[in-house]
Subunit: 468 residues, 2 copies
């Protein structure tokens, strides 16, 4: 795969143009992130005033680096940007990320400057990410690259995340210790002068380390092309989009971008739905859904069984089924008979199955096994509120270890110490959900993807055009 | 105020009937919670086999306690419950909480036993909370009572919370370290054999330590009476309800209760809305709204100004305005002129006001002051995504210190270390919000309350009856 995006996400060497020795400056913090996460490639820092920063050798100019540079992160002041790009493209570097801000987003003058830079890039075989962006991550153990300002250490997963907003990207990275989101690759695309969501869609579809693609977008840079990938059935992986600028106020706030996919949110919705592209309501729903695709088989239908040790949270879980087009499964008489042998007589063998607060790890495991074996059940939501007498870990791990082709989504409402323990001690490390309302959204979204990929569409680009 | 609920929430002495010396048993853990939170009253433990548990003296029987018992927590096995209640009512104890489960919730036989117990109570001047519940909390420094299984130490606030589900109550208590929810009083009401949400509504309306009342309910025990308090304009405090069993599947899961307020969720919604009772979508919305009422003045209208240092999160905040019946305020020319002197030329003085990532604590404070002074602005949402070069604490505290009669809701998306620091070091300790989507829900809910209390209703109980 000789894509330039191979250079972006799998660079053997990277160069920070504008690295700094001053703590709290962006040029220092980004270098620190690279160091801390343990990037496996070669690092060249360009800084004429320092010999060395954080143990990396500094070079006075780009030209003075004699070795090949796969990826360049440019964060020099605006007046030095053009010269840096010229030197890099002369050197044959194809993957450029321009962090520096102050271009199109600031008005007419900045827009002209952005055009000039783009011109430079177009005249070479390089590509440009940004400007006005915040970096790139590949968490794979062979790469271990965190070239962003946020020195968090993301756990490796199979998800790719592209954010048009640097702040949203940073906020997500800063929340990783609580949310347990796992990335494979992350990229902040800023003004999208050259590289857009479309380029990434194409690359990530082919990258075998990616199984689910997520976006925070405020506009579609070339919506028609984006959709064409789906019309042509080139995209087989699930794609989840959180779109900022849904309402007229929000669209005004996001300001208009050229070539955006329709200004009406209804149009965006209709088109995305048509092609099984999942629209998330918020960041929580987006990453929960991504966890669903990463960790669980796609359910074959919409019939859900719920098992719990606590009435209230199970009711909240059931309440969210309808609005996600799911239904409570009718358990077969055989299933109920088997459940009767396990469930406490004062509990319930109807759906939702109630094990009462005394429900043990063994009971939870057995009941989940019986439920997934029921032909009327497509997915299970297992809700565990940790009581004092039944520790959560064995319950959770027991269920995680069940080997089946139907998904079991676990909601855990544990004692405060649980999450740290799970992160450290879990063997399975399968994604858990924190709120009883979460799994229904995930199942509903997974089915939107599945149903679209089962039924072939007869939509052609011509038919779609009127929507634009 | 000689209400029996004074004995429940402000007891000078309490008795645990069925205290245990065995760690992990409910009778031990509840006693441990009492000890750990530092209850200020006298504690009597009833346990014939121990002399002392956790430093508290044990008594072999209730009768052997010679002093007055204000509140009794009963957690003995079912066969000893009736006898315990008899002894307590003979002694003149009025406030009884029956933790023990296995009554109405288990079927016909349990229902009969529950009736017998209720009979006993009705023949005395005592009241009964439960059975099948998980305890009571008053976090006021004069009381410091946590008589639940959950040994968390809630921070004191002005909110009261009543949960029909013990598990939901426990889950909320277990999440306190992350959610920063502050209680004044909490009670788990379980089967609601005697004491219901109505009794608590009446008591909390009068209790000056409570300013906002929240409920998790699965049924209204006597819905007509509940609404009558509002028809008669006896309730002046905001009331927020999360109702489990919204959909037909959810209602089925919650099972039917006698005297419930209509089985159709549309009816529940219509009636609650009519009386300005706030219906929360989930626990997050409920407690965020409670924080709104606790910490902020009620906005006078629906015109919202947004200020931010980051485009993306501001767009997500603006996107939630419409669905909560809010609008983006039109800032006056004077306001924009003043903002121009502060905001970076590449930022924006339109609503949402954008200070760019470099926006300082001083700029955030000044801009917020200008925005709340604008006659076209009823509320401000201030969104701060913490960049490396501008630490969050001074920004947050600076805004918290602004003295005004308009609310400023702060959304903070900080570096991972922030929350602990804020809990420890903040002088103001005003509630912050974590997601850009949160404040719009809060403002919308506060306005539902305000608008209802401004416009007198002409609904009479007769007119309401057909809804039941």
């Amino acid at each position: 795969m000789d894509s330039v995006f191979q250079d972006y996400f799998y660079p053997k060497s990277l160069c920070v143009v504008g690295a700094s020795s001053k703590p709290k400056s962006l040029g220092y913090e980004l270098t620190k992130s690279i160091k801390q996460f343990g990037y496996t490639g070669k690092v060249f820092l360009i800084n004429p005033k320092s010999d060395e920063i954080l143990g990396y050798k500094c070079y006075p100019t780009i030209e003075s680096v004699k070795e090949k540079i796969d990826l360049a992160i440019i964060m020099v002041p605006k007046q030095f940007v053009e010269d840096s790009i010229k030197q890099l493209t002369n050197k044959g570097t194809r993957a450029l990320i321009l962090i520096t801000a102050g271009f199109k987003e600031t008005g007419k003058e900045g827009e002209q400057e952005e055009k000039r830079i783009l011109e430079l890039v177009k005249n070479s075989d390089a590509r440009l990410v940004g400007p006005n962006c915040m970096g790139i991550i590949n968490s794979l153990s062979e790469i271990k690259m965190n070239a962003t300002f946020v020195a968090e250490e993301p756990r490796n997963g199979k998800m790719a995340f592209c954010s048009q907003s640097g702040a949203i990207g940073a906020a997500v990275l800063n929340s990783l210790r609580e949310t347990d989101i796992r990335f494979s690759q992350f990229i902040s695309v800023g003004n999208k002068a050259d590289v857009t969501e479309n380029d990434l869609l194409e690359f990530w579809e082919k990258d075998k380390n990616i199984s689910v693609i997520t976006y925070y977008l405020e506009s579609f840079e070339a919506g028609e092309e984006f959709i064409k990938y789906f019309i042509d059935e080139k995209i087989t992986k699930p794609v989840i989009i959180l779109k900022g600028g849904k309402t007229s106020s929000g669209i005004k706030a996001a300001s208009s971008h050229t070539g955006a996919l329709g200004s009406s949110d209804k149009v965006v919705n209709a088109v995305l739905t048509q092609f099984g592209i999942i629209r998330a309501n918020d960041l929580n729903d987006m990453f929960n859904t991504a966890k669903g695709f990463e960790d669980f088989p796609i359910p074959q239908g919409n019939r859900v069984a719920v098992v719990t040790n606590a009435g209230g949270p199970a009711i909240l879980a059931v309440d969210t089924l309808e609005s996600n087009n799911l239904s409570l499964a009718d358990l077969t008489p055989e299933t109920k008979a088997k459940l009767k042998e396990i469930v406490h007589p004062q509990g319930s063998v109807n759906n939702p199955v109630d094990l009462l607060p005394g429900g043990t790890a063994e009971q939870f495991k057995q009941v989940n096994e019986i439920l997934v074996a029921d032909q009327n059940v497509d997915a299970v939501i297992s809700v565990f509120v940790e009581p004092i007498m039944v520790p959560a870990m064995p319950v959770i791990e027991g269920i995680n270890e069940i080997k089946i082709d139907k998904p079991i989504f676990q909601v855990v409402m544990p004692l405060p110490e649980f999450w740290d323990k799970y992160r450290k001690e879990s063997k399975t490390k399968r994604s858990l959900f924190r709120k009883p309302e979460d799994p229904a959204v995930v199942i509903g979204n997974m089915l939107k993807f599945k149903n679209n990929h089962r039924i072939k569409t007869d939509i052609s680009l011509e038919k779609l055009n009127p929507l634009q």
